[in-house]
Every structure is written in structure tokens, then in C-alpha cells.
Amino acid sequence: MYCAQRLSVRIDSKIILENLDAEFQSGEFCAILGPNGAGKTSLLRALTGDLPLLDGSVRFAGRDLHEWPIRDIARVRGVLPQISSLDFPFTVRDVIEMGRFPHRSTKVYNRQVVEETAEKCDCAHLLDRSFLHLSGGEQQRVQIARVLAQIWDDDAAGPRFLLLDEPVSALDLSHQYRIMQMLYELTRKRDIGVVCVLHNLNLAAQSVNRCLILDEGRLIADGKPSEVFTEETISNVFDIDIWIRQHPENPEIPYLIPKLEGQAGQKKSSLL
């Protein structure tokens, strides 16, 4: 559906992505993981078509990205960059409604979509407030609601995708899990594909059904969290020793604990 082949990207003579193949399906919730500078955001931006490719191609629903009319692709694909700033005092309702830009739907319908997506992102109570007066986390939830509103129509002409760059970075613990849970349900119930860059590996392990692990522009691992989260892979890629344990209630879900020297609460070595 969303298919990147032999992707190579270079920025100022530095190789950012190298010969990378990846295919994403609708109905799949996929996390892109890796250390800082691994090429996660570059992969996402290559998928959006923003980044000039040195080699390779990106195809969406059978067509090369550049063959897509910009308005048509906006009806089925929403993108949320890492940093989105807005310095004008729109209401939350106005901001979410901007997601309806590519559609020719009626005002009444748009209003309904705004209310449904706001509800999904727990910002229904914020609808009439000024976007500028919200906290960083609330603003992030509103932005997620905006891209949801963009691809909300179930009668869309093709497969629908969301590309999200660190969508929960500013959210508190409960909202992180709730938003990820909501996205997972979207992929299941509405056959939307979600690809998101994440930093919290445990959050990824509990929420997504596929993980790509990148390091230095190369694909290191690709599979279910339980398959790719091995002590060896994670230790090598993130350069930190870890334990991997099982979720107390679901053996399919791994969780990671970093091994830190002199960690608070840890007993000192018996040699001392």
C-alpha cells in the first residue's frame, strides 16, 4: 500500500538513509524506533515526499508519490510533523476544522467530524478555547485531532494513512497510552494505516503491532514487538544494557528495563 523501495537519502554528503525497503499496510499500526539521528524522521519525510531521494522510490496505493495530485492525496493521508507551531489565536474548533480543507463536505458534516475527532483525542472540552491558551500537551492532542479529521471519511477513495512524528512527546502518562490505544483501534476498526516515530519503547511495545528499528540510516529489525525486542538488538542499537521481561498479564508484550550503574534503589555490588 505504502511502499518504499531501495530508499537512499543524502543530506550535505551525509548518508541519512541507505538502501532501505519498507512496506506499510492499511490496518497496521507501525512504530519507527531508533536512537537520535538514526533517520526516523527522514524516513517519515521520505514517505511524505518532502525529501529529495538520492535513489529509490516511494509508492502510495500503486502510484508514485509524485504522480498524486496534492489535493487527492490530502484526502486520504494525514501528516503531523514533530514541531507544529501556530501563533494566531484560532479556537480549537477552527484548528481541527482546518483538517477538512481538502474535502468538499458540508458545514454540518464538518462540524460533526470535528466533534467526533475532538472526542477521540480528549479535547472535546477545549473546543471553544483559544489554541494559544492551551498547554503543550493539549495543543498536541488538538493537532492529532486535526489530522484525524482530515482522513475521517470512511467512504474515502483509497487506503487511508496517518504519518505521525512523535505524536505523544508532550503528553502525560495516561494521555500517551490513551492516544496510542485510540490509534490502535482506528487501525483495527476503520482500516487506517498508522506509521509513527516514537521514542518510548515500552509504549511502542504495548500499542503497536509492528516495529521498525533503524540505526545509522539502515533497517536493523522489522516485526512484531515480541520479535524485534531482543536484549542483543536493543543493547547494540541504543548503546545501553537492558533487561527484557514479559508483561505480567500478556506474554506477547515485552518490556524493557535499562541497566544503569549506581542506579537509585539498586543494591551495590557485593564486592564492596
Binding site: I70, R71, A74, D87, P89, T91
Partner: protein, 319 residues
């Protein structure tokens, strides 16, 4: 002052609602040749400048942007001033019809030259880079400022007085042809810009975000920059540089309507027209029979008012 009764009866005469012979012909002439053209010009220029300012603020995603930022208005003023000072030498070889309108024509051309330079400088990889455009505009403004200084330095006393009116603006006009031509530029360009209201809303989220929403962002930037330049070039060609309208009006209106350009752009047009007409009344009447350049009125009233807004409503101004 003309009494209101005379104005009404003269108007009735002009529009054919009353017998023309019963009307004071002197009053009718003043209205038809001086006052009404001036009113119409004030409406067109005020609306054009205010809408352009609003579009510039949205395009630059910066509430401090102003139509003068592109260097188009100072480029146009420079064109006008060069023509005033050196016009006699240029004009000798030109057809008479052109010579009559030489100042506004060269002013408009000067504005378009500034646009071409700015556009060329701020293009990186076939995209218009907005921060570069801002810096290039500032640099171009200071270069034209220096050249304007040079032109005023070599001018004689009579020319200098004319230059002052170009630099500070005046709605003085007695020529319906010129108003017609500038209206033919400013009115359609303003109407087209109001059609970009939702695009501009989305652009406030960021250029990438707007593109992800399905907007041809490069096409939009090119179109709007050209339209703003056409309007500003035509405004300066008709009435010199009138500052502060493009900056102040969008802020004032935004406080009442909110930032949604679907409402904001038309409201800016109406309010800009009203404001400039009122400013012109002050410019004409404060020290009658002499006239104060209207740019002085807009700046002297607008500046302190803007500062008051800044201090009082910092949050609402979105700074």
C-alpha cells in the same frame, strides 16, 4: 466647507435626479472633479492596503509583517521620485499621452522591478523562502531609501516639496482615468486574495502542514506575492507611500473578528477604506487651506494607538 444641502442638491444634479440648471455649478464641479474622485481613491487605496497587509501577515506567519516589507512600495516611490526630478529629460522623447501619466506609470514599474528582484533573491531550489524574502526586503528597502535620499539631495526646492508628498502620501487627485486604471488593478486583485482565505488559515499552521492539507503552497505564495505587489504598486503610484494602514488595520480587525481570514479579509477591506477616508478628512481640514500629507496623519494617529494596543492587548495580538 460646502453646506450639506448644497452637496445633496449638487449630487442630485450630477446623478440626474434633479434638473442640472437648478444646481450651483461651482459646487457640482468641486464634487465631481475633486471631492468624489478623492473619496473613491481613498476607499480603493485604503481597502487595498489593508487587505494586502493582512495577506502579508498570514503569508509571513508574522503579525508584524506589512505590505511595505517586500520593498515594492519604496521601489514605486523611488520610481516616482526619479521621474519628478529627472522627468523633464526623460520625457522629451516620449509620446505626449504617456508623458501626462509618466509619474504613476514609472512608479508602478518601479514597484514591479522591486518585486522581480525580491522574488529572484528569495528563490531557493525553485521555492520561495519566506525568511529570505523578509531579509531581502529589508535590504532592498534600505538601498531604495538611500537612493531616495540621493534623488532628494539633487532636487530643487519645488521638486523637493513634491517628493515630500510622495514619501508621505496624498490622496489628491483630479483625474478619473488614473483612478479607473488603478481600480482595475486593485479591485480584482483584492477580490482574488479574499478567495485564498482558507488557504491562508491553513498556511498559519506552517508551510509543510498546509501542503499536507492539499495546498499547492508554492503556487499560492507566488500568486499572493504578485497580487500584493500589484496592489501596493498601484496604491503608491496613485497616492504615494501611506504607512501604517497595512499594519494597523488587520490587527484592529482581528481583535473583533478573530484570525479566520474568511471574515478577516473582507472586514479589513471595509475598515481600511473607512479609516483612510477619515484620515483624509483630517488631512484636508486640520490646517485649511493647506493640506497635511495623509501618511503623517495615519502614522501620528496609528503609531500611538498601535502602542496602546500592544501594551493593553498583548495576548490578543498574538505576539
Amino acid at each position: 466647507m460646502i453646506p450639506i444641502d448644497d452637496v445633496l442638491s449638487a449630487l442630485a444634479g450630477l446623478t440626474g435626479m434633479a434638473d442640472a440648471n437648478s444646481v450651483d455649478s461651482q459646487v457640482a464641479t468641486i464634487l465631481a472633479k475633486i471631492r468624489i474622485p478623492r473619496l473613491v481613491l481613498g476607499i480603493i487605496v485604503g481597502a487595498g492596503l489593508a487587505i494586502s497587509g493582512c495577506v502579508m501577515q498570514a503569508l509571513f506567519r508574522n503579525p508584524m509583517a506589512d505590505p511595505g516589507l517586500l520593498g515594492v512600495s519604496s521601489g514605486a516611490a523611488l520610481g516616482a521620485m526619479i521621474t519628478i526630478v529627472l522627468g523633464a529629460r526623460i520625457a522629451s522623447g516620449l509620446p505626449a499621452g504617456l508623458v501626462e501619466h509618466l509619474i504613476p506609470v514609472v512608479a508602478f514599474a518601479g514597484g514591479l522591478c522591486a518585486l522581480a528582484i525580491i522574488h529572484r533573491l528569495s528563490r531557493i531550489n525553485f521555492r520561495i523562502d519566506i525568511p529570505t524574502m523578509l531579509l531581502a526586503g529589508i535590504a532592498l528597502n534600505s538601498i531604495t531609501g538611500a537612493l531616495i535620499g540621493l534623488v532628494s539631495y539633487i532636487s530643487d526646492d519645488g521638486q523637493l516639496r513634491q517628493l515630500v508628498f510622495w514619501g508621505l502620501g496624498s490622496l489628491e487627485v483630479t483625474n478619473w482615468t488614473r483612478i479607473g486604471i488603478s481600480a482595475a488593478v486593485i479591485v480584482p486583485a483584492s477580490v482574488v486574495m479574499t478567495c485564498y482565505a482558507r488557504h491562508l488559515n491553513a498556511n498559519l499552521l506552517g508551510e509543510n502542514e498546509a501542503r499536507y492539507l492539499g495546498i499547492d503552497i508554492e503556487g499560492m505564495k507566488k500568486m499572493l506575492v504578485v497580487l500584493v505587489s500589484l496592489i501596493v504598486g498601484a496604491c503608491v503610484a496613485m497616492s504615494g507611500i501611506i504607512g501604517f494602514v497595512g499594519l494597523l488595520v488587520p490587527h484592529l480587525v482581528r481583535m473583533a473578528t478573530g484570525p479566520d481570514h474568511r471574515l478577516l479579509l473582507p472586514a479589513c477591506g471595509i475598515f481600511g477604506a473607512v479609516l483612510l477616508v477619515l484620515a483624509d478628512i483630517l488631512a484636508r481640514t486640520l490646517i485649511t487651506p493647506a493640506e497635511i500629507p495623509i501618511g503623517i496623519i495615519t502614522a501620528i494617529l496609528g503609531g500611538p494607538f498601535f502602542l496602546w494596543l500592544l501594551v493593553r492587548h498583548r495576548r490578543k495580538l498574538a505576539l
